[in-house]
């Protein structure tokens, strides 16, 4: 099936949920509302003509100030059987920053969702093991958000472990090779 | 289980084969290179220690302060300061490469319009202090001298100055016309006696880079 046809199938099935269909090159993305994401995803996974058995990628995007809904969670789906793919995007407002987890549908979403939370602060409800993944557990802030400072003169305020690191450096100075 | 499999199982055939291989290898020639005593061949274009090409005519670097290398360095380890001498001519006041930050991508060499920069084939430079691996203008020239002292022949050519297979028509003129650089001083002026900051007499200067000095910084401003 062509991506366009898949998008139209989704639109016909979940008419009120689909907000927008965009196309770039031969890739089509479908922007949907997050409320029924689990239902849409189960349909995509289980319907025999689509059969998206393979979640290639799951990631977040921060459109701060560019779009109404600040975040988007982007799902890249692929069907190994039919060799077609589609991109599903779920818009997430900043105020209600959570979405249903798809780990029950694709086990591989587990770490992707954790990473998405780690980087953007988007919560995934129903995730079996929900915590940070790449950043330390006591990290504050979500680094891939567009308002996360690239460079800061806040010093230790940036990360509370920073002071401790500086102290350790000071303590270990005597071992330095001169 | 066939008879062969049984024989293999009882007599450890595959292990004996492996042992035969290791025994054979024991008698073959080792591949180890005893590093400081023998060195492996380094291929041209190796991206090692940074150096300024010392212009055989003037005995100085060829940099025209176009800021291209500074702007494209992915790790932002190059910094450049343009000064003005008493005749209000620009000259290279500072040129620093923080080699510890450098990722040796070689972009600076390729982008330089006058082929002033080079990543030499020296790779074994290390030190106990960070200062020794912080290359300023003079050290960059010194690196070049050290590098060319080891070279045989009279000219040097770096393959990233004008990469093969890339459309020459899109390169700047100076790059198109770049010939292999002579590595021994050709002019009578010995390199160390040339004062770095002498008042520039336009007639003495090599015409081509001087011509570009004026236009390049402006172009850069548009870009940013």
């Amino acid at each position: 099936m062509t991506p366009r046809a898949i998008a139209e199938l989704i639109q016909s099935k979940f008419k009120p949920e689909v907000a927008e269909i965009t196309e770039f090159g031969d890739q089509v993305s479908v922007l949907v509302n997050k409320t029924r994401i689990l239902e849409i995803m189960s349909f995509l996974r289980n319907s025999s003509e689509l059969y998206f058995d393979y979640l290639t990628d799951l990631c977040g995007v921060d459109y701060q100030g560019r779009k109404n809904e600040r975040f988007e969670v982007v799902y890249h789906l692929r069907s190994i059987l039919h060799n077609h793919c589609i991109r599903i995007k779920a818009a997430i407002p900043e105020k209600d920053c959570k979405i249903d987890s798809v780990v029950r549908i694709w086990a591989g979403a587990n770490w992707h969702e954790r990473e998405c939370f780690d980087m953007y602060g988007i919560s995934f409800t129903g995730h079996p093991d929900f915590r940070r993944i790449l950043m330390p557990d006591d990290w504050e802030g979500h680094p891939l958000r567009k308002d996360y400072p690239l460079k800061s003169d806040l010093g230790e305020a940036e990360w509370k472990g920073f002071k401790e690191v500086l102290e350790t450096v000071e303590r270990n100075k005597k071992y330095e090779v001169r | 289980m066939t008879v062969k499999q049984l024989i293999d199982k009882v007599f450890l055939t595959e292990i004996l084969k492996g042992m035969a291989l290791t025994f054979k290898m024991m008698l073959s020639k080792p591949v180890t290179i005893q590093y400081p005593d023998e060195k492996r061949k380094i291929y041209p274009g190796f991206r090692g220690k940074h150096a300024f090409v010392r212009d055989a005519k003037t005995g100085r670097q060829k940099c025209i302060m176009c800021m291209k290398c500074v702007n494209i360095c992915p790790s932002q380890c190059i910094s450049l300061k343009k000064g003005r001498d008493e005749n209000n001519k620009p000259f290279l006041e500072r040129y620093d490469i923080e080699a510890l930050r450098c990722i040796y991508c070689g972009y600076c060499v390729e982008v330089c319009p006058v082929c002033a920069l080079v990543l030499t084939e020296d790779f074994g430079y290390c030190s106990y202090t960070k200062d020794a691996i912080f290359f300023d203008k003079d050290k960059m020239l010194k690196n070049w001298d050290e590098f060319v002292a080891k070279l045989s022949g009279d000219v040097y050519w770096n393959k990233f100055w004008r990469p093969d297979g890339v459309d020459i028509a899109k390169m700047p003129k100076s790059k198109r016309e770049q010939a292999p650089v002579p590595i021994r001083p050709t002019a009578a002026v010995p390199s160390d006696t040339v004062p770095e900051k002498k008042p520039v007499n336009p007639a003495e200067k090599p015409p081509e880079p001087a011509a570009e000095v004026e236009e390049k910084p402006e172009e850069k401003k548009e870009v940013v």
């Binding site: 109404n68 770490w111 990473e115 | 991508c105």
Partner: protein, 391 residues
Amino acid sequence: MLKKKELSINMGPQHPATHGVLRLVLELDGETVVKCTPHVGYLHRGTEKLGENRTYPMALPLTDRLDYVSSMSNNIGYCVAVERLLGIEAPARAKYIRTIMAELTRIANHIVWIATHALDIGAMTVFLYSMRDREWILDLYEMVCGARLTVTYPRIGGVRCDIDQEFMDSCYKFIEDFPKRIEEYETLIDQNRIWLQRTVGVGIISAADAINWGLTGPTLRGSGVAYDVRKAAPYDAYDQIDFEVPVGKNCDVYDRYRCRMDEFRQSISIIKQCLDKLPDGLVLASEAPPYDMPIGKPRVMPGHPMGEILPGELVEEKVPFDELYSATEVPKGELGFYFVNDGTARPYRMRIRAPSFVHASVLPKLCEGSLVADVIANIGTIDIVLGECDR
């Protein structure tokens, strides 16, 4: 009553067999693993964030540092993605050169994999034999681009410089010689009963599970799923090359080992075909962006008073974004780049779908219920590099 309590062991981040800084918290009941929790992120360098603040050519060297044993493939994956995004077509010669390089990298990567995997299982000699052969590939890299590990050889719209006759000769010699080297590795381990005991029936993941967990590359193909991006969505010169995708059937460590060993042979055949067919011409497309690509202004909706959208400002009308997901088959699996472009020369969002990240997530599934020694075999078989996993 005796109380039963599991022994918890911290395997890593400094451990010889975790291939970097992977940390596994194992709950052991005797020698049996009851629970395995991987912890990653020790090598997190924020590559995605860095990429968002650099132009496309400047972010290219970052991809070297993802999977540092197959940096060439990462570069190619990135370049292919950016080319698709910017609508550039690389010249045919560049495409063939890239294919040669990608396959050389596949060999180099699998060499490192067999070396470390065998070393973990205790066959130390294979490690040194294979490292000897990797040296040759690194020499080939150095010949063509002057660097051995972080090559930055491909560039957007082609490759940096042409390959010369010396490279071709050496490459021909290599592909002629290498099958003998593979036989050497196989003599030592392929039929060795200890190797078989350690690998057959260990780390089983069924085809359905493997797809569900998102595995790719030889790790997936070992389970019998013939999914290969080179076949499914060809890029570079792969559509003009004849090759097979080796698959396993028992879904265990041994089959994944066999898959990779067969990929050695397929790669050799691909390189040979590419060298034979190598067309003439330039290696860089004429529309390729220069290194100092102008950054440009973000696309805005027409008639916006500011000309540019300031952060925090709500814009009702949407701004056009180019979105592209591009996948390439790197030695470890499917390396995907997802770009959101707002019209500037910087990606608005650069997402790297790293195969190692996905593969590391499947470790608990593979390890739980097996022995400590199998954990080592499992870490080896999924072939992860933490530079890529943590990005």
